[in-house]
Amino acid sequence: MPASAASSNLSNDGDPMSGDTTCETCVKRRDLLSTGVGAMALAGAAAAAVPVIDSLAPNPDDVAVTTLDIDLHDLAPGTQRVVAWAGKPILVVHRTPQQLAILQSPALFDRLRDPQSKVLQQGAYAANWHRSIDPAFLVVVGICTHLGCVPRFDPQTDGNGWLCPCHNSHFDLSGRVLKGSPAPYNLPVPPYAVVKPGTLRLGENPAGSSFSLADIVQI
């Protein structure tokens, strides 16, 4: 029988599980073999897991960011428009000259957490007091930096612009968070460019700058 030849150096007494403990080298050689086989099996299982785990990542098509043009001509001063882009609410506001004046007042600056927009919640082209390219038009991602609700547009004469319905975070008309709010950061400014007067393009940067949603500290 074939099995007898194979098992003869393991055991001759009909109980192969007992092994042959008198043969030191046999045991060591078998330990090496089983450790080696185990290691190879583990390596194989790890290799097989790679495509499985890989496939659980989102389909790149589902997360691909496209561009969206916004026409500003019919956006009346003092009003907000909400558009969906990259699966997110984007808030576009046409600010009046009075509102722009308040946004520059030192009294308002004292009430803000990050008046100079130092934290990277926007591209370099929006790291200014109006947090935009053209001061009249503000573009922010309408996702509260606290826990993600959409803040409600509620412009006030003191410069307040949004109130978050979830836990009362306040943001000014430049999307900067007011001290005392649970939200830690200013509202993010998405990448955008002015393609021609009166038209913004979301998802594209002004020539010479680069910025993407992934660069935002917290969205």
Binding site: M1, P51, V52, S55, L56, N59, D61
Partner: protein
């Protein structure tokens, strides 16, 4: 004289007193696993044909893992199904690997099961006391067939669609309940808006049921223990070897070879197992020039077409399977292994050849030579199970059996 089985050796498997760790005393899984998968005694003379049950288990596991990943990206709608499968192949990270393995896995599953079954037929593994084991395996085969068919329709290509049309009409041919049944299956008179979702649910449901049936299959196997090439029960501990390390190692070697074949098919020859027509979106207005089923259904497809009657063909294909389920009661010879049966052994080869010829006939157009080859092979298939096996059991004089396996 009925041979001793594991049941007889150990008639009241009374639970041993609970010992061991805190968990072990409350849920003695470790002890059960050691008893059933490490110390479990197997005949010492099992050959490579006993690999195939383990191959089937591993294939099933691979199908479930890859299937779950594919399901996460599949869209079960008439408009979205085809594109979502294309996206899996082209866009989903590693999606092409998972789909290739899932498709090659389906083919390998059948190849493995056919070897597994013909092994059982050769060595008489279906005979007492393993009838329930045999039947549980048979149910698993039916579930695998159903799962494969439902899965084949999911990509909603031309072959998918027309396969669903043909099977829908075949189901509708069943007297009385056929029409409402086909309507429930397809969610309409023809495959349409409701079909992908129904087939998606059925595909996953049947896949899960295979696991349940497999549990019963293995449980039944561990009651009787394995048969072996000699077809006699082990008489003493010297006739057996513990599963670990002997058969775990041996199965491991077989498994490496099997995985090489499976992955070789998936990576090097994916086109061998697919029909180019299925990469055209389903078109209800245009039937592809030749629709042949997947190779594993061709023997039954040949029978389906061998008589000029829709219901008749359906009954023949069903009966071809039913005789396999009934074989423990058709073959009453006490000797199990064909090695010691001078008449049953050549009959087995002729029967296996008739199955292959049926498959060949089923993959060609049903005219002239192939039609008649299919008819003759089908006739022999039934002749073997219904006439030859019962007859041989009466007239055959078996060779002397060995007295031990050692």
């Amino acid at each position: 004289m009925t041979p001793a089985t594991r049941l007889d050796l150990d008639p009241d498997q009374a639970p041993e007193p609970a010992t061991g760790s805190w968990l072990e005393r409350r849920l003695p899984v470790g002890r059960a696993l050691r008893r059933e998968y490490r110390d479990y005694p197997l005949p010492r003379n099992l050959n490579a044909l006993w690999f195939f049950g383990a191959f089937a288990v591993v294939t099933l596991a691979a199908m479930i893992v890859t299937g779950i990943c594919l399901a996460l990206h599949y869209t079960p709608t008439e408009a979205g199904a085809f594109d979502s499968v294309e996206a899996i192949i082209r866009r989903v990270p590693s999606g092409w690997i998972l789909r290739s393995v899932h498709m090659a896995g389906a083919s390998c599953f059948f190849a493995v099961l056919y070897v597994h079954i013909f092994r059982g037929l050769y060595y008489g593994s279906y005979k007492a006391p393993r009838e329930v084991l045999w039947l549980s395996g048979f149910v698993a085969l039916l579930m695998v067939m159903a799962t494969a068919f439902f899965g084949y329709v999911l990509p909603w290509g031309q072959m998918s669609y027309w396969g669903a049309v043909v099977v829908g009409n075949a189901v509708a041919a069943i007297p009385l309940i056929g029409h409402p049944l086909a309507g429930m299956l397809l969610g309409g008179d023809a495959p349409g808006a409701a079909t992908p979702m129904r087939f998606f649910v059925l595909h996953m449901l049947c896949g899960g049921l295979i696991c349940a049936v497999l549990f019963i299959h293995i449980a039944a196997l561990h009651v009787t223990g394995s048969n072996n090439p000699a077809g006699i029960e082990p008489r003493s501990p010297a006739d057996t070897l513990p599963m670990h390390p002997f058969y775990t190692t041996k199965d491991g070697v077989g498994l490496c070879l099997f995985l090489a074949v499976l992955l070789g098919l998936a990576f090097l020859a994916p086109a061998l197992l697919t029909e180019a027509d299925n990469y055209l979106p389903a078109n209800p207005l245009l039937t592809p020039p030749d629709i042949t089923p997947e190779w594993y259904f061709t023997p039954f497809y040949a029978l389906l077409r061998s008589v000029p009657s829709r219901l008749g063909g359906l009954l023949l294909a069903g009966a071809a399977l039913a005789v396999v389920a009934a074989v423990p009661w058709l073959d009453r010879a006490p000797t199990r292994s064909a090695r010691f049966r001078p008449l049953a052994r050549p009959a087995w080869f002729a029967m296996a050849a008739s199955f292959l010829l049926l498959g060949l006939a089923g993959s060609h157009e049903a005219t002239g030579f192939w039609l008649w080859l299919g008819r003759l092979a089908g006739l022999y298939w039934f002749l073997h199970f219904l006439v030859l096996l019962p007859l041989i059991a009466r007239i055959e004089r078996p060779l002397p059996l060995p007295t031990s396996l050692a």
